[in-house]
Symmetry: C2
Subunit: 212 residues, 2 copies
């Protein structure tokens, strides 16, 4: 049974799951959500996910919301990018929660405000505030990667897929790879995994590619 992922190319949270589905060789198809036209807040979409959020994953007769819950489900199901003990599971979860609280959550908001709002509607003070918080978060990850190749348990896991997802997008949000050499090297290791694809090659996009 082919899995269905409600998604759009610009969503780093959807890209986490699309990447996991692809890397694990799970059959799936995208269901495009026109997020920027407000579709995620529509009654029809809220009937699928009352939280009004993308992504949503349907597989194995279940409808899952929250990207981290989907990543865990796929890790259990495929035996890939997961954990081998309760301690390993907790270590992965610790980073998934940090990602959802301090990292991807803030990146997603900042990138949205800087790139997907009309210039006259951009709340510059809120953007500056978010960028300040994010600098502290990049430093935490940079330090963590000083002594390890992967975020948790010495091998690639759903924690890496979750944390790295937004960082590959080209739109500016205040993160420059060259400023964070350990994050940069880790991103290169991750994108070298067999089958890895750029988020914009994984899912249908709302906006056409920028032209130079």
């Amino acid at each position: 049974m082919t899995a269905q992922l409600w998604c759009f190319g610009e969503s780093g949270n959807a890209a986490k799951v699309a990447q996991m589905l692809t890397l694990t060789g799970t059959a799936w198809q995208p269901v495009f959500v026109n997020f920027f036209a407000g579709e995620a807040r529509s009654p029809a979409f809220r009937a699928i996910n009352p939280m009004g959020e993308v992504p949503v994953l349907r597989l194995d007769g279940r409808t899952l919301t929250q990207s981290a819950v989907m990543l865990r489900h796929l890790a259990r199901k495929t035996g890939q990018f997961g954990w081998a003990s309760e301690e390993e599971e907790d270590e992965i979860l610790r980073w998934l929660f940090w990602d959802n609280h301090k990292f991807s959550a803030q990146i997603g908001t900042t990138r949205f405000l800087m790139n997907f709002l009309p210039p006259e509607k951009r709340p510059e003070q809120a953007i500056a505030f978010q960028q300040g918080r994010l600098k502290a978060a990049y430093a935490v990850l940079e330090d963590h990667l000083a002594s390890r190749d992967w975020v948790a348990n010495g091998r690639p896991s759903i924690a890496d897929l979750s944390l790295a997802s937004y960082l590959y997008y080209p739109e500016p949000f205040g993160f420059v790879r060259a400023d964070w050499p350990r994050i940069d090297a880790w991103m290169s290791r991750l994108s070298a995994l067999p089958g890895w694809k750029h988020p914009y090659d994984l899912m249908p996009r709302a906006f056409p590619p920028a032209t130079a």
Copy 2:
């Protein structure tokens, strides 16, 4: 062995764990962190938690960070406020992730900016932005509670403890219980659980109680 919780009274994230320890009858003692003096960013504290965040929990020979990981550990250990199947576990996790992404995370920041910064340093635009996002989040929770007494699986769980924690604080951050009658009723059910305590009665405070 008595558990140790690095905490301070003003931290809603620490209160989640302090409440769980108390409700489950787990022996514990607080270790006060002088957060507002920058202690969480000090080298000594970062040696305990490189993420530079409160709370930290030491028990059973382990040092845990991220409140949701601690709540899960305590649910497994005590058999209380947890899950009875993989589906139930996923349902609780879904709300824990939503809480860390969209709810407590944004409330904590907003409350900090509005109450624990000198008035001249308050970023009013960032506060207004956060309050707008939070209104949408309160509505999601209010709707969810229209047809149920507890957030997940028909009984009190760590999902309730996590989501409700910040809502009991008296400092203003834009949430008024009377505006959200189902959240209000749910908070009353939760605080009626035997042994429940207000966050300021669970942990040592950084600031003295406000006087009228």
